[in-house]
C-alpha cells in the first residue's frame, strides 16, 4: 500500500482539527505550504499530508523518506514556535487514539526493523482549543512567523 516510485523525499505532516480554535494551526500551515507548492518550481521534493491526529498507520507514510517534519499546535511551546529533532520514544501516547511523533517513529522502527528517517517537530504555540472557535489572533501571528521559518528552507533540506 505504499508506492516507492512516487514517494517524495521530504514529508511535511501538519495535523490538527480545523474547527477547534488553535488546533487549526497544523491544517492552516498545510494550506499555506500547499499554496506555495502550487507555484511552479517550488517544493517539488515535498509531499504534504494532513490529518486530525496521528495514528499508527501514519508510520507507513514515513517509508522511503529522507526527512520528515511534523507540524502541530502546542499549548506548551515557547511562542511563536519551537523546532527540534524527534527521536523514537515509547511514551504513553501509544495508549490513546492519538499518538505523538516520537511514538510514530517507534512504531516505524518496530514494524520495519530499520531506523526512521531524520525527523523534526515544528510546534506552533496555540492558546484556545474549543469547538467552533476560529484561530486566535496570537496563534495567527505565530503561524505567520513559523511559515516564514519553513520557507527559509533549512527545514526542508534533506539530511
Amino acid at each position: 500500500m505504499t508506492d516507492e516510485r512516487r514517494t517524495r523525499p521530504i514529508l511535511i505532516f501538519a495535523y490538527g482539527n480545523p474547527s477547534r480554535g488553535d488546533d487549526a494551526l497544523g491544517p492552516a500551515m498545510y494550506e499555506l505550504i500547499d499554496a506555495q507548492q502550487q507555484k511552479a518550481g517550488l517544493l517539488n521534493d515535498v509531499e504534504l499530508l494532513t490529518d486530525f491526529q496521528l495514528q499508527i498507520e501514519h508510520a507507513t507514510d514515513l517509508q522511503h523518506r529522507q526527512r520528515v517534519v511534523f507540524i502541530d499546535a502546542s499549548l506548551t511551546a515557547s511562542p511563536p514556535y519551537e523546532f527540534h529533532p524527534v527521536l523514537p520514544a515509547q511514551d504513553l501516547s501509544y495508549t490513546t487514539h492519538a499518538m505523538s511523533p516520537a511514538a510514530i517513529l517507534s512504531v516505524y522502527q518496530q514494524i520495519y526493523r530499520q531506523p526512521p528517517p531524520s525527523t523534526y517537530m515544528l510546534s506552533i504555540r496555540g492558546y484556545t482549543f474549543e469547538l467552533g472557535e476560529p484561530l486566535s489572533s496570537r496563534a495567527g501571528s505565530n503561524l505567520q512567523t513559523a511559515f516564514e521559518f519553513v520557507m527559509r528552507g533549512q527545514v526542508l533540506t534533506p539530511a
Binding site: R20, F52, I56, L131
Partner: protein
C-alpha cells in the same frame, strides 16, 4: 437492572474515588467512585466533558455543508459523522432512495472506516490487555509490548488500519475532510484503477481478519469463565438490522432486545427514534443518558455497538462472519452474550464481515457507474441513523426556508453506552476495590472495562502528555484520603501524603 448509581442511600455521606484521565481511552475522561461508610462502591460516574457544543456547532449552517462540517466533531470517527449527516440531508432534499452506485460507494466507505476503527481498537488499544493480562506492567502492556512479543500481529494491525484508510481515501476523495457523500448521493464513482488497487490486497485483509477472530477466540477460551464474568452486566441492547433481521450497519430498522433476548421493539423506523428513545440528563454529567421510553429511565438503559449488533442480528450476509456469529451465539448458552469483554470478540467478527463485504463490493460493477445523484421535494426535518464503529449514531436536523439549520439533535454512540459504562465500572470496582487503598491493578481493571466499549471521549484536539492518570480518594467531607498518579512517562507515583488518612 436498578439504577443504583443514583439511588444510593445518603449519597452525601459517600466517599469518592476520582480517576482521570483514562489511558487508551480517547479524551479527558474521569471516573468518580462513591464509597459508602463500609468502603463498598455505591455509585460510579464516568465524567466526559468533551461532548459539549455539538448542536451549537451545527446550528445556523447551511444543510449542504453538513456532511463535510460534521467530520470536525470528532477526529476518531469523522467518516461516521460524514455519512450519517449525508443520510439526514438525503431526507431533507427528499432523496428517499439513492442510486445503486451511490449507496454502494457509501457502504464501501463505511465498511472501510469500520474495518480501520476496529483494527485500531483491537490491535493497538485492547490486545495488550488480552494478550498480557490486566496485571502486566503498564510499560509492557501497550502496543510496544505487542510488537515485541507478537511482531506479526502488530504489523497486521497497522496494515489493516492502513487498508481501511485507503478505502476511505478512494471513496471519499481525500484522506480526511472527504466530500464523497453529498445530499442525495455521492460526488464521484470509483475508477477501474482504484477498484483494482483495493482488490490487490483484499484477500490478505480477509485472511488477517480471520486470524484476528481466531486469536480472540483462543484468548477467550483460555480463561473463558473469567472473560465472561469480568465487568459483565445484564442490559438491553439496541442496534440496526436489515428488514429481514440481517446484520446491518449502514441502513435499516432499529431493534431492541432485553437481557434475555426478548424483543422490546423491532422493525422500528429510525426516523421515529424519538418515539422509542428518550434522553435523560443528570446534574453531574454533560453527557445525556438515553433510555428506552417504554421501559422508563430506571430500566430502559441499553448498550449499543458490536456486542449489541452481533447479539441482535439474525445472521450475517457474509459466510465467514456468519460462521463466527454462530460460535459467538453458542457462547451465550441461550441468552444474549452479556460479557463486556465480549465486545472485543464481537468487534472482530464485524471486522471480518467488513473485509468480506468490501471484497464483495469490489466485484460489483455498480461502483463504476456515473449515476450518482437523486433528489426530491425539500423537507424541513432530516434524520440520519447508522451504526458507527462504536454504536448507533443519530443526527436529527431541522432547517428553515433558507436551508439553514435551526435545530439539531445528536446522540453519539458513546452517549448511548453512557449508563452501561457506569454499570460496568461499578461492577468491576465492587469486585476489586474494597477499602481505601488505591492500586495500579485496580486502575487497570477499571480502564479495561471502559476500554471494552471503545468509548470516544475526544473531539480531535490533542494536548498530548498534559494529563497523567490521576486517582483520588475523597471522603464525604471532601478530604483527600488517598491519591495515585500515572505520569506521562508511564511511571506510577506512590500515594501522595494525605493529611486525613482515615
Amino acid at each position: 437492572m436498578t439504577d443504583q448509581l443514583e439511588t444510593a442511600p445518603h449519597p452525601e455521606r459517600l466517599q469518592r474515588v476520582v480517576i482521570e484521565p483514562l489511558t487508551r481511552v480517547e479524551g479527558h475522561g474521569k471516573v468518580t467512585l462513591l464509597l459508602d461508610d463500609d468502603n463498598h462502591i455505591k455509585q460510579a460516574r464516568l465524567h466526559i466533558v468533551e461532548f459539549r457544543g455539538f448542536e451549537k456547532f451545527i446550528q445556523g449552517r447551511p444543510y449542504w455543508e453538513l456532511p463535510v462540517l460534521v467530520q470536525r466533531l470528532c477526529g476518531i470517527c469523522p467518516v461516521s459523522h460524514h455519512l450519517v449527516a449525508a443520510k439526514a440531508t438525503d431526507m431533507l432534499i427528499g432523496a428517499s432512495q439513492l442510486t445503486p452506485a451511490a449507496e454502494k460507494i457509501r457502504r464501501l466507505m463505511h465498511y472501510g472506516q469500520t474495518l480501520q476503527s476496529h483494527a485500531l481498537h483491537f490491535f493497538h488499544l485492547c490486545s495488550p490487555d488480552l494478550l498480557f493480562g490486566f496485571d502486566d506492567v503498564v510499560r509492557h502492556r501497550n502496543i510496544v509490548g505487542v510488537i515485541e512479543d507478537h511482531p506479526e500481529i502488530a504489523k497486521q494491525g497497522v496494515l489493516l488500519r492502513k487498508y481501511g484508510q485507503e478505502v476511505i481515501r478512494v471513496t471519499a476523495g481525500k484522506r480526511i475532510h472527504g466530500t464523497g457523500a453529498i445530499p442525495g448521493g455521492v460526488n464521484k464513482s470509483i475508477s477501474t484503477d482504484e477498484r483494482n488497487y483495493l482488490r490487490k490486497d483484499i484477500d490478505q485483509i480477509i485472511a488477517w481478519s480471520q486470524g484476528s477472530v481466531e486469536l480472540i477466540k483462543r484468548i477467550f477460551s483460555e480463561q473463558f469463565d473469567y472473560h465472561m464474568a469480568f465487568a459483565s452486566i445484564d442490559s438491553n441492547m439496541i442496534s440496526m438490522t436489515g428488514s429481514d433481521g440481517a446484520f446491518e450497519i449502514y441502513h435499516g430498522d432499529l431493534r431492541a432486545r432485553d437481557p434475555n433476548g426478548q424483543t422490546i421493539f423491532d422493525h422500528a423506523d429510525y426516523t421515529a427514534y424519538d418515539q422509542y428513545l428518550r434522553e435523560g440528563v443528570k446534574s453531574w454529567s454533560y453527557m445525556k443518558f438515553p433510555f428506552i421510553h417504554s421501559l422508563g429511565s430506571e430500566n430502559g438503559w441499553y448498550r449499543v455497538g458490536p456486542l449489541a449488533r452481533v447479539n441482535n442480528c439474525d445472521y450475517f450476509t457474509t459466510p465467514l462472519a456468519e460462521q463466527e456469529r454462530i460460535a459467538f451465539r453458542d457462547a451465550g448458552q441461550g441468552r444474549p452474550v452479556q460479557a463486556t469483554l465480549a465486545y472485543h470478540w464481537a468487534r472482530l467478527i464485524e471486522l471480518l464481515h467488513c473485509a468480506e463485504a468490501i471484497k464483495a463490493l469490489l466485484f460489483d460493477d455498480d461502483l463504476l457507474s456515473d449515476d450518482l445523484l437523486v433528489k426530491g421535494d425539500m423537507q424541513a426535518r432530516g434524520i440520519g441513523v447508522l451504526e458507527a464503529p462504536r454504536g448507533t449514531l443519530f443526527h436529527d436536523y431541522e432547517i428553515n426556508e433558507d436551508g439553514l439549520v435551526e435545530k439539531a439533535n445528536l446522540i453519539v454512540s458513546t452517549t448511548n453506552n453512557n449508563q452501561a459504562m457506569n454499570e460496568s465500572i461499578r461492577q468491576v470496582a465492587n469486585h476489586y476495590l474494597d477499602g481505601k487503598q488505591l492500586t495500579e491493578p485496580l486502575l487497570n481493571q477499571i480502564e479495561v472495562a471502559i476500554r471494552a466499549y471503545d468509548p470516544c471521549l475526544s473531539c480531535a484536539t490533542h494536548a498530548l502528555g498534559k494529563m497523567p492518570l490521576e486517582v483520588q480518594l475523597v471522603n464525604s467531607e471532601g478530604e483527600l484520603v488517598d491519591q495515585l498518579q500515572k505520569r506521562a512517562n508511564g511511571n506510577i507515583e506512590p500515594s501522595a501524603t494525605c493529611e486525613n488518612s482515615g
